[in-house]
């Protein structure tokens, strides 16, 4: 919303310095995005008439214009297509200055001397129009300063109005707020419209859907179409609208000034000289002014002529059939109040927004409909030779009552932390047009109908806060008295997991949770329970991840593409699975994924080595240690996405909680990644549900350990981890440690067999183990392993 200060001053003095006005608007919640003072920097730009337009000898797109600026003539080079002999335009001679401090000089353009330039609207700081030279009123005195002619000695506030304040989307609304803040008078003069009894409002209005159109008012006027006067055009331009014709300009002017969208129909083109407001038929079509044919539903409201032919989509956009043109002599002016949600729904469904729809959907003043039509009539009379029919046809079938709101002064103070007297509350509200009576906790406020946002007591409390100013509200700190601030166990554990990964040398990534279905499938992530986006912008981001790893691998690829080969990343985040049964929301779980690529430096004592699966296992161990899960093992099994011989399921407390291994070449090839890349992914929610280490103190034994070494020949398929577990179980509490210290393969051992050598350390808490006890433990260990596996003790 662009509000020129000169226009605001039609209604209130607003004579404070600009900085003060800006501060006031900001505090009031009418946020000032920009303050434009286009005239402030313009010097010496004058009104000139183009006498002749000649081709440029050396450039097709440029022309030469001879201009008369009152007390002299000169020639300029001009690239705009819209100049013609006789046109009056702003002329900036050499020495003149434009916004931004740009000073013009006499210079050659493609070999021809240009003595300055003709200006577009944008070059004068008047909005964005740069299509052509700004055409000035033909009656302007040649040589006059354009600042005066265009009214540029003005301040334009570009305001960001929040959606709850439709009343502030117009100049009058901004003026009202400023007047209240500055404690200055505020008046909106009543329209003084001379009427002409020879013009009859002989039109009919039938509202068939009063729920969607509580009020529809029609006025009739005979008009002479043409251009609107310079003052009106200037205001429209400053407010960001393009002048079109006097009739259309008047409707836009009232829209900007009063927040009442109006529509002028060419009455001669309305079949049956009347209006029917009805819902659209299913599948009914109409072409809007922007040339688009739109398919409608019964939820959409149509403005039709008396013959029921659609003329406009109510409150959103008109059609071409009854559009006002140069040939128009009589108009029917629509001033209506449409139900907000209906306009919002239609506008959203058709993806069609207009100045009009954005106001109707926020809520205009139903009581202003007639007054604002009067204002338009007054202006038609002034600028379009309007002869105005005295009567209006006003179908106000569902009158909107002003909201009566009870307001308790104590409630105001309790919410704001203030100690305002009831009189202060009343004084805060009255200048906003809120009529307050009563006292103490029995204030009764009548909310003006232009403030649809004021319905409840709290709405008035906010108005009081806004008026007294947030700066005057105190600063206290609320502290809970019934709880202690703390992380939950799960939150603390997730921090530990992340810290363990960081400690293991991995950096945390945050990848997009929206991925390509193919990435998930290749990586072996569950695709049958994937949740699809309904309106994705890209196919690569069309489903929610069921696994973090594919995203992490993309991050590896991103780094590789930048010449960064050694990448160790982890991510801790949610994955999403389509819900089971009748649950609506997905099954969201925390996962941890980690990946390592490139090489690990062992220099200078050893050579660098590429990462291998044991690097991933180390990360896993670090994580499990951090959350004190001791009951876990790896179960070697093949999984899609992983190297079949180099991957394992992570089993904690008997439940599979994740996978660890080397990424399969098929996955890497799809990302153009060279291997090896190793990774793990763990369902953290499951992992954290596993039993944790018993933290009861066990005194370290002061007695000496006994160590035995045992080597077993077993089939290849037997996992070393499993044998270690068997050895640990066989020795019970006396086992302190089991370490695999050698793996050996040889023809002597037989095909597909290997030797696993373990060192087992025993120690008792209360005594030194005797030789006999150790021998017994050894026998038990051997028996356990040979009993459990196809194993023999190696001599």
């Amino acid at each position: 919303m662009r509000a020129p200060l000169s226009w605001i001053r039609d209604f209130t003095p607003a004579d404070a310095p600009v900085e003060e006005l800006v501060a006031a608007l900001n505090q009031l919640g009418l946020e000032v995005d920009a303050v434009e003072q286009p005239g402030r920097e313009i010097r010496g730009v004058r009104v000139a008439r183009i006498l002749d337009v000649l081709p440029h000898p050396d450039a097709d797109k440029l022309r030469l214009a001879d201009v008369d600026f009152g007390d002299g003539q000169t020639r300029v080079v001009c690239g705009a297509p819209n100049i013609y002999p006789g046109m009056v335009a702003p002329f900036a001679p050499a020495g003149a200055q434009l916004p931004g401090g740009f000073r013009l000089e006499r210079r050659k353009i493609r070999g021809v001397v240009s003595d300055g330039m003709l200006c577009s609207a944008r070059e004068l700081g008047l909005g964005d129009d740069h299509a052509g030279i700004l055409e000035l009123d033909g009656h302007a005195a040649l040589g006059a300063d354009v600042r005066e002619v265009l009214g540029l000695d003005d301040v334009v506030f570009d305001l960001a109005i929040t959606p709850n304040r439709p009343d502030a989307m117009c100049v009058v609304g901004v003026a009202r707020e400023l007047a209240a803040h500055l404690r200055q008078p505020f008046t909106v003069p009543a329209a003084a419209t001379p009427t002409d009894a020879s013009v009859a409002a002989d039109v009919t209005v039938v509202v068939e859907a009063p729920d969607a159109c509580p009020r529809y008012l029609a006025r009739v006027a005979r008009v002479t179409t043409g251009e609107s006067p310079a003052w009106m055009q200037q205001r429209l331009v400053k407010a960001g609208m393009r002048p079109i014709s006097n009739v259309v300009d008047v409707t836009n002017y009232v829209l900007l000034e009063r927040n009442q969208p109006l529509h002028a129909f060419d009455l001669d083109l309305l079949g049956g000289r009347g209006i029917v407001v009805r819902r659209a038929e299913p599948g009914e079509r109409m072409t809007t002014l922007d040339g688009v044919e739109r398919e409608l539903t019964p939820d959409d409201l149509l403005i039709c002529d008396a013959e029921r032919r659609p003329q406009a989509i109510a409150g959103i956009m008109g059609g071409a059939t009854s559009e006002v043109s140069a040939a128009t002599t009589e108009i029917l002016l629509e001033s209506a109040y449409f139900e907000r949600m209906g306009i919002a729904r239609t506008s959203k469904r058709l993806k069609l927004r207009s100045e009009s729809s954005s106001r109707f959907e926020r809520g205009i003043d139903p009581d202003g409909v007639a007054r604002h039509a009067d204002r338009a009539m007054e202006l038609f009379a002034q600028v379009a030779g309007g002869r105005v029919a005295p009567d209006a046809v006003d179908e106000y079938l569902a009158p909107v009552e002003p909201a009566r709101i009870t307001l308790r002064t104590s409630r105001v103070n309790r919410l704001l932390g203030t100690t305002l007297a009831d009189t202060a509350v009343v004084a805060a509200l009255t200048p906003l047009g809120i009529d307050v009576s009563g006292s103490g906790d029995e204030l009764v406020a009548l909310a003006p109908t232009f403030r649809p946002d004021l319905e409840r007591e709290i709405d008035l409390v906010e108005e009081v806060a806004r008026r007294v100013g947030f700066a005057s509200i105190g600063r206290t700190v609320a502290r809970p008295t019934e709880q202690v601030g703390a992380l939950t166990h799960a939150q603390r554990d997730r921090r530990r997991v992340a810290d363990a990964c960081v400690g293991a040398g991995l950096s945390e990534a945050i990848t997009l949770p929206l991925v390509a279905p193919g990435d998930l499938a290749r990586a072996g992530a569950p695709i049958d329970r994937v949740v699809e986006a309904a309106n994705p912008l890209r196919a690569e981001e069309s489903v929610l991840r069921t696994s973090i790893l594919p995203g992490l691998l993309r991050a590896v690829a991103y780094n590789r593409a930048r010449g960064l080969a050694d990448v160790a990343l982890f991510e801790l985040g949610r994955v999403f699975l389509r819900p089971d049964g009748d649950r609506l929301l997905p099954d969201e779980r925390y996962h941890l994924a980690a990946t390592l690529a490139g090489s690990v430096s062992r220099r200078p004592l050893e050579d660098d080595r590429v990462v291998d699966v044991y690097d991933a296992v180390d990360v896993l161990r670090a994580v499990l240690a951090a959350v004190e899960v001791d009951d876990w093992h790896l179960d070697a099994t093949a999984h899609t996405g992983y190297h079949p011989g180099r991957s394992a399921a992570v089993v904690a407390a008997g439940r599979e909680v994740g996978l660890v291994g080397e990424i399969a070449p098929t996955v890497l090839d799809a990302l153009d990644l060279g291997g090896p890349i190793v990774a793990l992914e763990v369902d953290l929610d499951r992992l954290l549900a596993a039993p944790r280490r018993d933290r009861t103190f066990r005194a370290p034994s002061p007695y000496p350990p006994s160590r035995i070494d045992l080597a077993f020949v077993v089939p290849e398929a037997v996992a070393a981890g499993a044998v270690a577990t068997t050895l640990r179980r066989a020795g019970g509490d006396l086992v302190e440690d089991v370490t695999l210290f050698d793996v050996f393969r040889s023809d002597v051992l037989g095909a597909a067999r290997k030797s696993l050598a373990f060192s087992v350390r025993y120690r008792a808490a209360d005594r030194t183990l005797t030789d006999a006890e150790v021998a017994g433990l050894r026998d038990t260990a051997i028996a356990a392993v040979t009993g459990a596996y196809d194993a023999e003790l190696r001599g």
């Binding site: 946020e31 609320a478 950096s507 997009l512 929206l514 949740v531 986006a533 912008l537």
Partner: protein, 353 residues
């Protein structure tokens, strides 16, 4: 030997031997050589040994003097040897150390410590500040239903506030019924639905917009939401809590807060929250676009409609809520210009923090 019968001769023998030892012992080139020399100077056949043998042939009156002379000789030689032995041991240790020398600047095994993502660091920092103020950390799903993301937050269908959000919906339930949450505010609703007041929580987390990742836009970003509900929470509590918290966050007691009227469907009164620029302290600089203020987020008193949606009596309970973006905090603090920096996962960026 038996010829040696005079005390003077014996002394001369020892003196001469000692004088030689003063030359030969410090010159011994190795401990082996030193061991041999020690035997030569102190062994049975050494001058000391000879002198001992000869003592019995002296006059009885001279014998104690002779004994002392031998003792003095032995002590002097032993000291020479010990001293040389220390020197040789030190030299040999130094030589061994030199042989075992490693260039410590040549490398290291394994990886250095990794890095938490900058967003996580900021998030933890904020969480810890609020835990210090007595708050708990609440969580909720990232995929939300219409009730929690919009409706219960006083954003009914077709409400203009929905047009402010580019919502990414998913194919679950009915049309536009389930979406990736557009803000962390639904956690407010879930917390109040499952807990009796009073409530003091913060809810950090990922939020989503239907946008493509570029310099200014990201489909995913992070917010933190604060909710306090108690019997007498006031707007002054909201402003004071925010001021306390931002001063802690930026570790600067001189930071000022500014609140301007704003609109959010789920709070009333609502305000936009800005802090005095942490770089120029309000003087105006590039970071604050020469305004002296940095906008951080939005805040307000919980709207009674929200309380009614979760079954709290708005006549009994009052509350405030505020929220802002974690990336924004990091961008301001560290001068990061582009939001995509956070989600490219370039290891050079990750390793910088």
């Amino acid at each position: 030997m038996s010829a040696l019968v005079r005390l003077d001769d014996l002394r001369t023998l020892l003196d001469t031997a000692l004088a030689e030892a003063r030359g030969s012992v410090p010159a011994a080139a190795s401990t082996t050589e030193l061991d041999a020399l020690e035997r030569e100077l102190l062994g049975r056949r050494s001058p000391a040994g000879q002198a001992n043998e000869a003592i019995k042939n002296l006059e009885p009156a001279e014998r104690p003097q002779a004994g002392q002379a031998v003792g003095a000789y032995r002590a002097a030689v032993a000291e020479l040897v010990a001293s040389r032995r220390d020197e040789l041991a030190a030299a040999e240790a130094a030589a061994a150390a030199d042989r075992d020398r490693l260039d410590l600047t040549a490398g290291s095994h394994g990886r250095a410590r990794g890095h938490l993502h900058l967003v996580t660091q900021v998030q933890r920092e904020l969480e810890d500040i609020f835990v210090g103020l007595g708050y708990r950390i609440a969580e909720g799903p990232e995929v939300e239903d219409d009730w929690h993301n919009f409706e219960a937050l006083n954003i009914p269908p077709a409400h203009p506030a929905r047009s402010m959000q580019d919502t990414l919906y998913v194919k679950l339930g009915g049309d536009e019924q389930v979406m990736l949450r557009t803000h962390t505010s639904p956690v407010q609703i879930r917390t109040m639905e499952t807990h009796e007041p009073p409530i003091y929580v913060v809810a950090p987390g990922r939020t989503y917009r239907n946008e493509t990742l570029d310099a200014r836009h990201s489909p995913v970003f992070h917010q933190i939401e604060c909710l306090a509900v108690d019997r007498d929470i006031t707007l002054a509590d909201l402003f004071g809590t925010i001021e306390t918290f931002v001063r802690r966050l930026f570790d600067d007691e001189t930071i000022r807060t500014r609140f301007r009227s704003d609109f959010f469907p789920y709070t009333e009164p609502s305000a936009e929250l800005a802090v005095s620029c942490i770089f120029c302290h309000g003087e105006g600089c590039r970071v604050c676009s020469h305004t002296g203020w940095i906008e951080l987020g939005g805040c307000g008193m919980v709207d009674p409609n929200v309380f009614e949606a979760v079954g709290y009596d708005p006549e009994v309970w009052q509350g405030f809520a505020f929220g802002f973006g974690l990336e924004r905090i990091a961008m301001i603090r560290y001068g990061i210009d582009e939001i995509r920096t956070f989600f490219d996962d370039d290891v050079r960026f990750l390793a910088q923090y």
